[in-house]
Amino acid sequence: MVSTGSTTRDPRDAVPTRSDARDDDSTPSTARGGRRLLGTLVLFAGALVFLFPFYYMVVGSLRAKADTSVAGALPFGDFTFDNFIAIDSRVDLLGSLLNSAIFTGGVLLGTVVFGVLAGYALARLHFRGRGTLFAVMLLVQIVPFQLLIIPIYVMIVRTYGLADSYLGMIAPFLINSAAVFVFRQFFLQLPDDLFDAAALDGASELRILWSVALPLVRPALLTVVLITFIGPWNEFLWPFLVTKDTSMQPLAVTLANYISNIAGRAANPYGAILAGAVVLAAPAVALFVVFQKRFTGSELSSGVKG
């Protein structure tokens, strides 16, 4: 049970601490260190496998000619931005980005405004139907959206004639249920005293929400923006169904159409496709790398589906 190599003078040293006890088993420390090293190596090797396609995407997007050989995977050779120019000339890259931004922005706005209100009501206010609403919210998380695609298509495109409109694109995603859940959990864990004190001062429910709850909401807001952003930004099926007019299509749809229809005509089709893929991937990846602290298991365990 010797925890360190040094001679123990202080009797307390002989008593293993909590962490010592956990690390200590019958194997000698070198073997243990070896196994830990092995675990770390496996983790790093796995991470490289996970990251490789991203690296390959960037390298491929910068090559003048598609190079599928093993040497082509190495970061050497002549790099060029021609592929980005090529994809921009084949499709309306800026227009598509703008459509993606409007689609995503609309969903974010709807989710933040209505989600805060609903989350606050579910956490802090006693009203008729609260239990039912909460149960339905949980149920919704396991109803796969794709399976409702036909009736939603019938409603939005056929009944309301909202094809090729931002409203039609945004409507099915307007309020992200996972975000409502995150807001609810956040308001639930704020101390009761805070609200009781404001109520004793005679503040109205509206005033309590505005001056007590909302100023504190920032950490939850960041988490909500992150998990909501990747929904519409990455979504393919719905905008693909609802937009036939190319000037209305978000980037995911534009790029998919380019891949399946017209890529063959470009000088370096893969290069142009990969350049488009980089443009589509970059905002989400950047957001999640910068704010990685807000995207952990504990932030999400409430939010079930991303």
Binding site: F50, S69, A121, H126, F127, M137, V154, W233
Partner: protein, 314 residues
Amino acid sequence: MTTTTQAPVRGAAEPGPGGRRRWTEKVLGRQPLGILFAAPYAVFLVAIFAYPLVLAVWISFHDYFFAAPGAQVDRPFVGLDNYRAVLGDPDVQRSFLNVAEFLVINVPLTVVLSLVLATALNAAVRARTFLRVSYYVPYVTASVSLVAVWLFLFSKDGLVNQLLGPLAPNPSWLVNEALAMPVIALFVTWKQLGFYILLYLAALQNVSKDLYEAASVDGAGRLASFRNVTVPGVRPATTLVVILATITGANLFTEPYLLTNGGGPDGASASPVFVMYQKGIEQGNPDTASAIGVVLVICVLLISLVNRKLLERD
């Protein structure tokens, strides 16, 4: 609303000034303003989930076709005709078998890999942030972007085949009937894994350290304590991961549409949602497409229930 704004205390101890207040309290709850706050979300849920769910079932029992907005058309009730047509359709049968193959590969792989990686990540000392981010980056990236790279990697002369040399499959991965679906299953496992690792990481924080200590005192090695402490300790998370992975699999669309060029080769990687899109929107038969959707929802619910029963029995 006015009654609440004047109410000085949120508690129920305060009796209302008159009968009117007590009456509203009984019908609307103590803070009826909550109804107003929650109303947009409630309306959204009804409009986007509850109503379409009912509409999907209704359409599936009728001879339904697309008509111009506002046009009055007759859509007769046809009983189970659509279901009979769908269940007897070889394309539909094939797509359900394809997604079953997908789930058999994807779900066990997802559970094992995400739990093992989460456990390793939990114990790792160095570069935890880098590792965590590396594993979830595919999850936050658009499928369309990632499919583009995989198309390049797994094409006939792609890097994967270059590395394999003479071992490269012929026909190549994405145009090979036996390999198209496994490649898609692998793609989705890779893309979604980071999310499940995060779920397991959260669940691991709730496993009591004392249990590991007790196991270690009993002479259990790492493998034994993983089997006897970690696996049972995260069982609720495992149920969640299995159910979510099943739902994700049932939703499969983008990958067969783009990666294998429309469920190819010859329908070998067509998913039920892809067939729904073909029949419902391309061919204009929303009634049979809705029937596929209803059958798929029932299958997902059944699988989820069976999984829960299997995973939570003790």
